[in-house]
């Protein structure tokens, strides 16, 4: 590897177009397309009695109105349950347009296609839908009472129930271990609802080519390959006649991994039916009431521990609010249950969750995907143990850490990918040491006392997490070096701002020994790469990064073979530098990769100068073997896949110092420190960017953002006015330090970094506020009004 770009803070190759307004996001495409809009339920739970479109038919510019009755077989069926699980005994998904019952505000009922979105919304406002009201089920407590049902055939509103139990080394159950422990605590924790809210909502734009009988769909998705397969199946089209492309995507954070959305099926269906281009661009209100939320859980915790704070037994019961439907299965509570264990080896563990239906927007993964809740549970537990014992909170954590020489470490559970929860590598004591240094943990008590003397309340908190990243099953990479010397890289998964065009180019340039300027990367375009899983679970760099590296190695090997022939050298004596293959130690004996590409493809026709050199009549071809030798293929290209045996586990630790106002109860983060270990970093600048963004979302989730439903199932804050996504003024400066513990599981030694920043923030902020206030903080997010109420309840 002579062109070392791996590990360097290479500037992003995406930015030139994005800073100049030349990005192509979904709504930038198809300027002449018809616009779709939807009549959505204003009620949380109701039976549709009639739909009257008469008044709407007069509107100039109306093209079509569709209800469930109009949908053909395939399209009219409930949307798929993407990730079935034996514990999900009562999985339910929505129809693309409501068939008879609506189960949350925002559920689509009627699709309107018109000449533009203004007219489409005019039409929507004139369509009258009759409802027979059913009792809405809102809130976990009301749902588990089972007094009213979200789905008539789901008793108790319980969609799934799962118990996982890991006995202690000496064979005790968690209950036994807790019973026998010198100390026990039990408590309840609450986490409220939040959501991804990318700045760009969802969107779909479809073109039907009647001549070719083919469909091209653009979707603001995290998985174009799977949208394609779902569409081909739903619409009954041959897979090769459907192409799906994720253009520039304005953020995802999880919500765009769900597929197919109702609109993703309906828009292409209508485009084909009407033989006209149709586009739907989700607006902000639609995004709030008809996409997906996450986070809401109630946790009942019981823990037994020894005098050092070592956890001997832990039992957690989780009630998970799943909203009205379960299209993405029970991935979120499974991740909470498993990742709750964090960097700790604990005695015995029992976790039980019930996934509960409510008449609210469905719950699917949001950055962190159940981990913030699990980490909140474990880290609050650690703090409570420390407080109970009067020990330092960092020391209690250290007493429970898995040690560096204990890897691989088997937690004894099954992870979200269906594979054993075995941590591959990490160095938690070193992370903690770095974090304590960075934040000044040991000096803080003096600082707190000094502030207290001035009437100020300061507090410090910390939180640790382990994150399973790079989950399988696979991703692939394809490399083609063309006769102009350019390297074309493609992979099937999609991008939403992570900088894949840059990091994948860094990998390819490093592996192939070519200048990065010659490398171009395409993601999320099924015309270029058909097999992929998608971008989620901090997996893109690990999965596609390694697949691209492997594909590059194949191509490199072939390039060296072809070059060796031409140079009459041994391939083992060759290396590639700056796009030129040369004999080690003899720079004059060289051949550019462009020429290698020419030579690799014996041609019949000379359409240009390069091609002339490659025709079968040009060179001294050997007459005893075919122009393309057995086992060879024409062209300098290669494809490979990376399929890991299991996930790789990144980790990190955060600490914060907060100040609470004794009078107004305002909460301010004075410092925020992060130590992060995602194995080898491909591009540290981008890793830092991911961390900053994750922490900011975490701060949102800790102090500002929640979805507030009233008892009727109305979302009271379906706007950026009232869903308080933080501005720059709300986010602290984030101090970072890194550890690079390579993953032994993959060729590049990397782990995922996408979600990390968000995971422990609520736990850290809660701990710091608790430290400042001397009052337990067991519910997040927390507002000044909430803190004031906690103070009042405590009588101060």
């Amino acid at each position: 590897m002579t062109t070392k770009l791996f590990g360097e803070p290479v500037r992003r190759r995406e930015d030139a177009r994005l800073i100049s307004g030349q990005g192509r996001y979904l709504d930038d495409l198809g300027p002449g397309a018809l616009a779709a809009a939807f009549v959505r339920s204003p009620h949380a739970h109701a039976r549709i009695t009639h739909i009257d479109v008469d008044a709407a038919l007069e509107v100039d510019g109306l093209v079509a109105i569709y209800t469930w009755e109009d949908l053909p077989a395939g399209v009219c069926e409930p949307l798929p349950l993407l990730i079935p699980h034996p514990a999900l005994t009562h999985g339910r998904t929505a129809y693309p347009l409501a068939r008879d019952v609506v189960r949350h505000v925002g559920e689509p009922i009627v699709m309107v296609v018109a000449k533009d979105r203004y007219v489409a919304e005019d039409v929507c406002s004139l369509i009258e839908v009759g409802y027979e009201f059913l009792k809405p089920v809102v809130g976990i407590e009301e749902a588990v009472s089972g007094a009213h049902l979200v789905h008539e055939d789901v008793p108790g509103n319980v969609g799934a129930h799962l118990v996982q139990e890991v006995p202690s080394a000496d064979g005790r159950s968690a209950a036994e271990a807790i019973e026998a422990a010198p100390h026990t605590l039990s408590f309840r924790l609450d986490i409220e609802r939040s959501a991804c809210t990318p700045l760009e909502g969802k969107g779909v734009y479809a073109r039907w080519d009647a001549d070719d009988q083919s469909l091209r769909v653009y979707s603001s998705t995290q998985t174009s390959t799977s949208v394609r397969m779902a569409l081909a199946a739903k619409l009954g089209l041959p897979l090769p006649k459907v192409e799906v492309i994720a253009p520039d995507v304005g953020g995802g954070f999880g919500v765009k991994i769900v597929h197919p959305w109702p609109e993703e099926v309906l828009v292409p269906w209508a485009a084909r039916l009407l033989n006209q281009e149709v586009k739907w661009t989700e607006d902000r209100r639609e995004h709030f009431i008809s996409s997906a939320h996450e986070r809401a859980q109630v946790q009942h915790v019981r823990v037994g521990f020894d005098d050092e704070g070592r956890v001997l037994g832990l039992s957690v019961e989780i009630l998970h609010d799943h909203g009205a439907y379960t299209p993405y299965g029970i991935i979120v509570p499974i991740i909470t249950s498993t990742q709750l264990l964090g960097p700790y080896r604990i005695g015995a563990y029992r976790v039980e969750f019930s996934s509960i239906y409510t008449n609210t927007v469905q719950v699917t993964p949001y950055r962190g995907a159940g981990r913030p809740q699990g980490v909140f549970c474990m880290e609050r537990t650690m703090d409570k143990i420390a407080q109970h014992l009067g020990r330092d909170r960092a020391d209690v954590r250290a007493a429970n850490f898995i040690q560096p020489d204990q890897f691989p470490y088997d937690q004894g559970m099954i992870f979200q990918d269906g594979r054993p929860l075995i941590y591959d590598s990490g160095d938690y004591p070193e992370s903690l040491r770095k974090l304590k240094d960075l934040i000044g943990w040991d000096d803080f008590p003096a600082q707190r006392e000094a502030a207290r003397a001035e009437g100020r309340r300061l507090g410090i908190g910390l939180g640790c997490y382990v994150e399973g990243t790079g989950v399988g099953p696979y991703e692939g990479g394809h490399i083609q070096i063309t006769s102009d010397g350019r390297v074309h890289v493609s992979t099937g998964l999609t991008s939403q701002g992570q900088g894949h065009e840059t990091v994948f180019a860094q990998i390819a340039a490093t592996e192939l020994g070519v200048p990065i300027e010659r490398v171009s990367v395409v993601t999320g375009d099924t015309r270029r790469f058909g097999y992929a899983v998608g971008t989620f679970a901090s997996r893109a760099a690990v999965m596609s990064g390694n697949a691209i590296a492997l594909a590059c190695r194949k191509v490199r090997e072939k390039a060296l073979r072809v070059a060796a022939d031409a140079l009459e050298a041994d391939p083992r004596d060759l290396e590639i530098t700056d796009g030129v293959v040369h004999v080690v130690g003899s720079p004059s004996a060289s051949i550019p990769l462009a020429t290698v590409a020419v030579l690799s493809n014996p041609l019949r026709y000379a359409f240009d100068e390069e091609a002339k050199r490659a025709t079968q009549f040009a060179g001294a071809a050997s007459m005893d073997r075919p122009p393309v030798a057995e086992g060879e293929e024409p062209g300098l290209e290669g494809k490979d896949y990376y399929s890991p045996i299991r996930s790789t586990f990144a980790s990190g630790m955060h600490a914060a110092i907060v100040e609470t106002d004794p009078d107004t109860a305002e909460i301010r983060i004075l410092r925020y420190a992060v130590v992060h270990d995602c194995g080898k970093m491909i591009n540290p600048m981008l890793v830092e960017g991911q961390i900053h963004g994750g922490v900011a979302q975490g701060v949102g989730g800790a102090l500002y953002e929640k979805m507030v439903y009233d008892e009727h199932g109305q979302l009271l804050n379906a706007s950026f006015m009232d869903f308080l996504m933080p501005y720059a003024t709300e986010i602290p400066h984030i101090e970072t330090d890194h550890l690079e513990t390579p993953s032994p599981l993959n060729p590049l030694g990397i782990k995922g970094a996408g979600e990390a920043g968000v995971i422990p923030v609520s736990a850290v902020i809660a701990a710091a506020i608790e430290d400042a206030e001397g009052l337990p903080i067991d519910r997040m997010p927390i507002s000044p009004s909430d803190l004031y109420a906690i103070r009042r309840t405590a009588g101060n």
Partner: protein
């Protein structure tokens, strides 16, 4: 989220504007900065039949200042008033409050008079006008009238403006004392959970001789309370704040919403009254 259709009128004079407003009656809505109205239109929470866009009306952008106070024309943007050194000198409370109105980009387009007419009880400018005892000048085909702030804000998002009337300017009287505006919002730039504008006058011995506060987000309209008596002719350092806060809390009627309980707003208002009066006295 696209606005519903409406008939559009773009008068170029006040005369023309009020004639159109008279003609369209209750179906008419005035568009100035649009920073409150257009979100409502985009969400289709408002659907006026006629929109009377006054942005081309001549002479409404004036900011006139003299010793008696500041008169702000209906097209004077928040940012223009904020940047006006003369206005800040004549009535510093205007600038103190404007800094806290939404974000600067909104203030580039939003108008001071528009904020008054919108009459949001959580907004800063109605409280400023109410505190100072200012007024709003309303024009119609039958002439002009000046409505005192005390009569102008009649309820949440409700004002004394009548069908066919156009608010052409507002007058913020000068105050020969100190002023301050303090508030606590969830995020920087959000509507305040509670906020207090204060106007204080001290004598030569620094005793409070006059003090008034106007509270936002704790009633259907800005709540103005004269706390001179509660301050007990004491210096700011010696004021019995418990009594002052009690006097204010007695008058406010906070309600809960998703951002704050009524109890918290009441408490917060008390905290902010003390802070605002102290800040206003610090001249």
């Amino acid at each position: 989220m696209k606005p519903p259709p409406f008939d559009y009128h773009a008068p170029t004079s006040v005369r023309e504007a009020v004639e159109v407003l008279a003609e369209v009656g209750a179906h008419g809505k005035v568009l100035a900065g649009g920073q409150s109205l257009i979100p409502l239109l985009n969400m289709r929470l408002a659907a006026p039949g006629h929109l009377v866009d006054i942005n081309r009306v001549a002479g409404l952008g004036e900011i006139e200042t003299d010793a008696t106070g500041v008169r702000v024309g209906a097209l004077a943007r928040h940012a223009a008033v904020e940047r006006s050194a003369a206005a800040s000198l004549a009535q510093p409370l205007l600038g103190q409050a404007l800094k806290q109105v939404a974000h600067s980009v909104i203030r580039n387009r939003g108008t001071v008079v528009g904020s008054l007419v919108h009459a949001d009880p959580a907004a800063e400018l109605p409280a400023v006008l109410a505190l100072l005892g200012g007024s709003v000048r309303l024009a119609s085909v039958s002439g002009e009238r000046e409505v005192a702030a005390a009569d102008f804000f009649t309820g949440p998002m409700e004002s004394a403006i009548r069908t066919g009337e156009l608010a052409v300017s507002a007058f913020f009287p000068a105050w020969d004392g100190g002023t301050a505006f303090v508030e606590v919002a969830r995020r920087h730039g959000d509507y305040a959970m509670a906020g207090v504008a204060a106007a204080v006058r001290l004598d030569d011995d620094l005793r409070v001789t006059a003090a008034r506060v106007a509270c936002v987000s704790v009633g259907p309209a800005p709540v103005v309370v004269d706390i001179t008596e509660a301050c007990g002719n004491q210096s700011v350092a010696s004021v019995d704040w418990g009594a002052v806060v009690a006097a204010v809390q007695e008058r406010i009627e906070p309600e809960a919403d998703i951002h704050a309980t009524a109890d918290y707003r009441r408490h917060l208002t008390g905290v902010l009254v003390e802070r605002a009066v102290k800040a206003a006295a610090d001249v």
